[in-house]
Symmetry: C2
Subunit: 301 residues, 2 copies
């Protein structure tokens, strides 16, 4: 087995900004994305192509893309349906994140579709996808649903089979939407999915929240099960606006600290990252949750 | 290998209370220790036998012991020297925790002794120890020192060799005094210590802080390396009063959540624990840091 390297996918501009109701200035969003790229971060989820009526914060996506497309990082955008995928492609997005929830109730609440409809949508998107476009599929509520409670492993593996049959080369993410997963279930669920014969050409990501204090521990569990890509938000900004009580993306700085200090460098400069996290923390209306940002700076970086 | 079970050693009454400068009412301390035992917690560090001039908060230890000695939990007390050990034995303590720091600078600051003097003190205590008394040795700054920075693995293993030669049946704890350890170094350091031929009759504990957001992840790393005993403080009360910037014991509720939800029950009732954590959080002058206490109660328990 070749040496593995962890890769951070910064989601503050998507999962973080969407948690702030009042639209932020487009220039400030662009400046933050540029700052994030300057930390050495190689992947940034810069927003989502959704109805501006549903999420007014994302109404300026075309301008955002224009303001950051020269950056060397992989810039992805989230889409919940075919219309969003078309808009993303039109804007020049080449890293697409398609999202749906394992939980029927949450999927109806989040993207107004049944799981079967979301799978149909994925199939249509894959058919139309330009060859150069990379696809990630985010499986939301892959452990726990704010409405239905615990999601069983069998249900998740069924979804993985359906998704990987449609998209055998996609990156697949298990999203701990509520932050209620524990390190043991994270380890077991990824190990089971990665062992499926039909997923051998897929790659894996973990999107974790720190709401229950398990954020870094769950990411470590995913890493040891073979996951290389981790979604986190600088300053711990955000949560899921459709999941009551679910705030708190895992702070990028907390997870980068674990990897960098542990001898698995992420390529991200902690000092620059903490400066950007401070800028994000200062955004009006945002809820943040970081550990590293609160220790004396000379001890953290 | 027999099935392992995690055991929580609750340290809020020692590492937590000592972080509060103004003495708390003895009755309230006793009530909290009794509440902690009622959660199902089987081990509680109820305080330290130290100079009341150095730590006025611990001046009422004899009364505390009298107020809790009927409890079914194992009740331990921390001692930094022979005088403290004598006082603990006189009070009827049968679970003794002897502490010194791997870092010379920190040991001088914390217990006013060199490491060699602390090892001599341990040898004298072991000689005098009644047969029924259980011994834990806490190795403070086993990863990082607030004054000297990173502590190397060789230095720690040298200390482990010295300690286990003196106390071949003791429980040995690596203490992340500053919270700056990462999960990879925790895993490696315990694995190396547990593999030493001369430590085969010792058992192991991890005393972690969450200051850098690594608390639960570090405990998980220790668990997977073979550690069964975890020091945590309900509500995350406290820190090390002699380590600048080091606040934040890992919250008991955050770690109990990981184990209980992960199918490794600690025997602790999360609902009762959260009630006690609320009571601890309400203590005047305390600094707490918990995740689980902030999520809607029906989701946590």
């Amino acid at each position: 087995m070749t040496q593995r390297h962890p890769e951070i996918c910064e989601v503050a501009p998507r999962d973080g900004f969407q948690s702030i109701m009042a639209p932020l200035p487009t220039d400030e969003k662009i400046a933050i994305i540029r700052d994030l790229a300057a930390t050495g971060c190689t992947r940034i989820e810069i927003g989502s192509f959704v109805s501006p009526k549903a999420v007014p914060q994302m109404a300026d996506m075309a301008d955002i893309v224009d303001g950051v497309r020269d950056l060397p990082a992989r810039l992805s955008a989230l889409v919940p349906n075919q219309r969003g995928a078309q808009a993303a492609l039109s804007a020049g997005i080449t890293d697409m994140v398609y999202v749906f929830s394992i939980s029927e109730t949450h999927n109806q609440n989040n993207v107004r579709q049944s799981v079967a409809q979301s799978l149909d949508g994925l199939a249509r998107i894959v058919t139309d996808l330009p060859a150069r476009t990379r696809l990630r599929v985010d499986l939301a509520t892959a452990f726990d649903c704010p409405f239905d409670g615990a999601i069983g492993q069998g249900t998740v593996l069924d979804a993985v089979r359906a998704v990987t049959q449609i998209a055998p080369h996609a990156e697949v993410a298990f999203c701990d939407t509520t932050g209620r997963a524990n390190p043991f279930v994270v380890a077991a669920r990824f190990a089971a999915a990665i062992a499926l014969p039909q997923t051998q050409a897929n790659t894996w990501a973990f999107h974790g929240h720190d709401t229950f204090g398990q954020g870094v521990a769950n990411a470590m569990a995913a890493w040891h099960s073979g996951v290389n890509v981790f979604d986190t938000a600088a300053a711990g900004l955000g949560g899921c606006p459709f999941a009551p009580g679910a705030t708190g993306n895992t702070a990028t700085e907390d997870l980068v600290f674990a990897f960098n200090e542990g001898g698995l460098p992420t390529g991200i400069d902690i000092g620059l990252l903490l400066q950007t996290a401070d800028r994000i923390h200062a955004l009006p209306g945002g809820i943040t949750g970081s550990h590293l940002r609160h220790v004396p700076r000379h001890r953290a970086a």
